[in-house]
């Protein structure tokens, strides 16, 4: 069982990293849609160029999560894909549309009209996809998906009832707000132009407000869920309160840092805020994959497979983490936007 919990924690860690990296790439799409003012064009270019080198790598964390889930907890994956077929399928359309429109926007002949059209697809897909991913996360916590583990994990509930409900959508909007917040905070460190920094500082503060509003809404509607233990642990468990306190503290500090324009530290604390939120969800959710019938212990796959996966992850990390470090060092250590934009106009990029 130690093995099963180890792998479950790895999945949670991968989810946190995906939220921090892939989430911010989705959030960037929000600011593409909401680009405005005299620097609207520049804001869009900043969005495009800052996610350009990293979005493929950031996206892989989602694959990592899915693959570990279906390899180590196969019934959990099957139940998830059966009960939540509709939102997952829609999220996939979003992922496909986002990727395609992003590269079309970036690599098609630079004509303003065509670019604006792809830009619109990109931003709409970037908004819908995280909402749906949030809906999936919310749905596994509500307790509205019922399963019969003793009957080969047969799904007992329908294909809409588990997720067409206030709580999953509250989580969806909360997720979107978090991602948009992260993206805006990151953007302040992508450019050296103070005016552009100011634009994204204001956007980050606005998104922080949305995070608080949707966070409170989600906490309230979690009571509507049929799964008592979840909202109880979410709202009253000791560990939950610890993570909740950490998230609140990080939110206050990150707001203060944004107000005083200390972006370098702001980026780190904003990341801590999101980490605390996702980790807190994970702690409240444990030991369930899909509350209340599918747990870490009853859905676990063959232990020989789990052991192999842990070994592979350990060995793989040795080569992969330095590569990831190099990627972020090359592109994210210092603001690179101005130089990249120049390279783009001269056709070097």
């Amino acid at each position: 069982m130690v093995l099963a919990w180890t792998v479950a924690i790895i999945i949670l860690v991968a989810m946190i990293v995906y939220a921090l990296l892939g989430g911010a790439d989705f959030g960037a799409g929000v600011w593409d849609l909401l680009a405005s003012g005299p620097r609207a064009r520049k804001q869009r270019d900043l969005v495009a160029l800052s996610i350009g080198p990293v979005w493929e790598a950031n996206h892989v964390w989602l694959i990592v999560i899915v693959v570990i889930l279906f390899t180590c907890f196969p019934p959990a994956f099957s139940v998830l894909m059966t009960a939540l077929h509709v939102p997952v399928a829609l999220a996939l359309v979003g992922i496909l549309a986002r990727a395609a429109s992003y590269v079309f926007r970036n690599y098609d002949v630079l004509g303003d009209k065509v670019q604006a059209r792809w830009s619109l697809v990109f931003s709409v897909a970037s908004i819908i996809t995280p909402i749906l991913l949030g809906v999936v996360v919310g749905a596994v916590s509500t307790g509205r998906i019922r399963v019969a583990p003793e009957e080969n994990f047969r799904v007992l509930t329908g294909y809409f009832a588990p997720w067409v409900h206030p709580f999953p959508f509250a989580v969806g909007l909360f997720t979107l707000a978090l991602f948009a917040f992260l993206a805006a905070v990151y953007m302040t460190r992508e450019t050296a132009d103070p005016a552009l920094q100011e634009d994204f500082r204001n956007r980050a503060l606005l998104a922080q407000g949305a995070v608080v509003v949707f966070g409170v809404i989600a906490a309230f509607v979690s009571r509507l869920g049929e799964h008592e233990p979840f909202h109880q642990t979410l709202l009253s468990g000791t560990w939950s309160w610890l993570f909740f306190a950490a998230a609140c503290a990080a939110a206050i500090v990150s707001t203060a840092l944004l107000v005083t324009r200390r972006y370098r530290l702001g980026r780190i604390v904003a990341g801590a805020e999101v980490t605390a939120v996702v980790a807190g969800w994970g702690v409240a959710q444990a030991p369930f994959f899909i509350a209340p019938d599918v747990t870490i212990e009853n859905a676990v796959g063959p232990s020989v497979t789990l052991r192999l996966i842990v070994i592979i992850l350990a060995v793989g990390s040795v080569t992969l983490l330095p590569s990831l470090y190099w990627l972020y060092r090359v592109f994210k250590r210092e603001p690179a936007f101005e130089q990249m934009r120049r390279e783009r106009t001269t056709g070097e990029l």
Binding site: P53, E56, V60, F77, L92, I95, A99, V103, I312, L349
Partner: protein, 458 residues
């Protein structure tokens, strides 16, 4: 055993609708795979062309190689991104459409998927550095990033094909009364069926991409014969395609012998061999009929199938009649196989022409006829890949895990699968058109086109 047996049915759902849903699910999976495989093949082979061109730029300092590398990199960026996204769709779709399959297969054959995740990770990291790092990392490191992308792309394919090989020749578990036990993922992922599948597909990817790229540059050369950039591009792409096209029929021969050994029923369907007989003939063309249990209008070469399958013209080849009809794969397997072989042989002929000329005269045939033939052959490689996967996958039916689990027993209990199928068709049709338009416009403003034309486009 009826197709619906063991199928998790909500009460009161009619059987014919279930059969339709199974067909819809299979079609959706087929379309998703058919779409993804083109981008996957390009993702394997295009980075190799890219790094060869970049290495030549670093070595010769001829700026045309740099221009070409950048043009190819831009095209690859689009194609690889779509390949990555459509691959993501596939990994979820396995669960969305066939949750019963994943419930059991996940624990047995998930490991290669995990390894593929690592290869994909490496590919994604270094493609970012490659595309955006021209002025940010030293030239050698930039080239090395490209090499990693090329290598990781091929490695991804190796792992994914390993899982497919396991579905065709499953092992590494014991299956009794619907229960899987004694699971050994290592035995599962080293199924001997993987070797020929992997080699056949990797060769196909380099061949199909090479000939497609050569056709595009060949087409431009026909209109602008003086363009040295396109001459270089054509040469490099053909240098990749020609050896692959020459090797491929022999790899295919090995593959068919493996099919004969592990899936004799599939071989019988491919060759539409209804009767078990010694000196079985090789049929070229023809229209098989499951009802009439015969193939009409085929050209038959006596004993040749026995020879190809078992290395002996007098060997006995088992016909479809040996298996219950409900286990027979659809007749489309026969047509797809014939088309794949025909296209492979056409490309083989073209490669011989180019290859012999190159060996004798140290250059490709300079004639317009050769360029035209290459342009016509351009889409053949990709078409052959599609037909090949139809043979592999439709030929595996009605099983999802060969002779262990039926596709019908793996499909999702969700009704109304026509809706996701229609959405899939619309999305992929739209994406296909968009990709072609974007790439066409890229080529129009690419290197080697007279500035007048470029101005027109801008």
């Amino acid at each position: 055993m009826g197709a619906g047996e063991g199928y998790p049915t909500p009460a009161g759902r009619p059987t014919c609708q279930m059969m339709d849903d199974i067909l819809f699910a299979r079609t959706q999976m087929g379309i998703s795979l058919g779409f993804h495989i083109v981008f996957a093949a390009i993702g394997i082979a295009m980075p190799l062309l890219m790094v060869i061109s970049e290495a030549l730029w670093l070595k010769t300092k001829d700026r045309e190689y740099l221009e070409l590398t950048k043009a190819w990199a831009k095209g690859s960026a689009v194609l690889i991104a779509i390949g990555a996204a459509s691959g993501t769709v596939l990994s979820f779709e396995l669960g969305l459409l066939f949750p019963e399959f994943m419930k059991h297969a996940g624990g047995i054959i998930g490991i290669p998927f995990g390894l593929e995740g690592f290869a994909f990770f490496a590919e994604a990291i270094f493609i970012g550095i490659y595309l955006f790092g021209w002025n940010r990392v030293p030239p050698r490191w930039h080239l090395a990033s490209g090499v990693i992308v090329a290598f990781a792309g091929a490695l991804s394919a190796v792992f994914v094909i390993t899982t497919n090989a396991w579905m065709n020749a499953p092992r590494g578990f014991r299956y009794e009364n619907g229960e899987f036990s004694d699971i050994d993922p290592w035995v599962a992922m080293t199924t001997p069926y993987g070797v020929h599948e992997i080699i056949h597909m990797l060769v196909a990817a380099y061949l199909a991409t090479g000939i497609l790229v050569a056709a595009i540059h060949g087409f431009i050369l026909l209109r602008h014969p003086e363009s040295t950039v396109h001459r270089k591009a054509f040469g490099m792409a053909m240098a990749m395609a020609i050896p692959m096209a020459i090797v491929q029929p022999f790899v295919g021969d090995v593959a068919s012998r493996q099919v004969a050994r592990y899936q004799p029923l599939k071989l019988a369907a491919m060759e539409s061999q209804y009767k078990t007989e010694a000196r079985a003939p090789l049929r070229i063309g023809g229209f098989p009929s499951h009802e009439g249990r015969s193939t009409s209008y085929a050209i038959e070469i006596p004993g040749f199938l026995s020879f190809l399958a078992h290395g002996d013209a007098d060997a006995v080849v088992r016909g479809l009649e040996e298996w219950p009809e409900e286990d027979w794969p659809p007749v489309v397997v026969h047509y797809a196989f014939q088309l794949m072989v025909a296209l492979g042989l056409l490309m083989f002929a073209l490669a011989l022409w180019g290859g012999i000329h190159w060996v004798l005269k140290k250059r490709l045939p300079p004639s317009r006829a050769f360029l035209w033939c290459t342009v016509i052959a351009g889409p053949m490689g990709m078409a052959a890949i599609e037909f090949g996967w139809i043979v592999t996958e439709v030929g595996r039916q009605p099983w999802v895990i060969y002779e262990v689990m039926r596709t019908a027993d793996a499909v999702t209990p969700m009704p109304g699968l026509i809706t996701p199928l229609i959405v899939t068709c619309v999305v992929y049709a739209f994406l296909s058109v968009a990709v072609i338009v974007v790439l066409y416009r890229q080529v129009r403003i690419g290197p080697g086109i007279p500035p007048a034309l470029r101005a027109q486009e801008a």
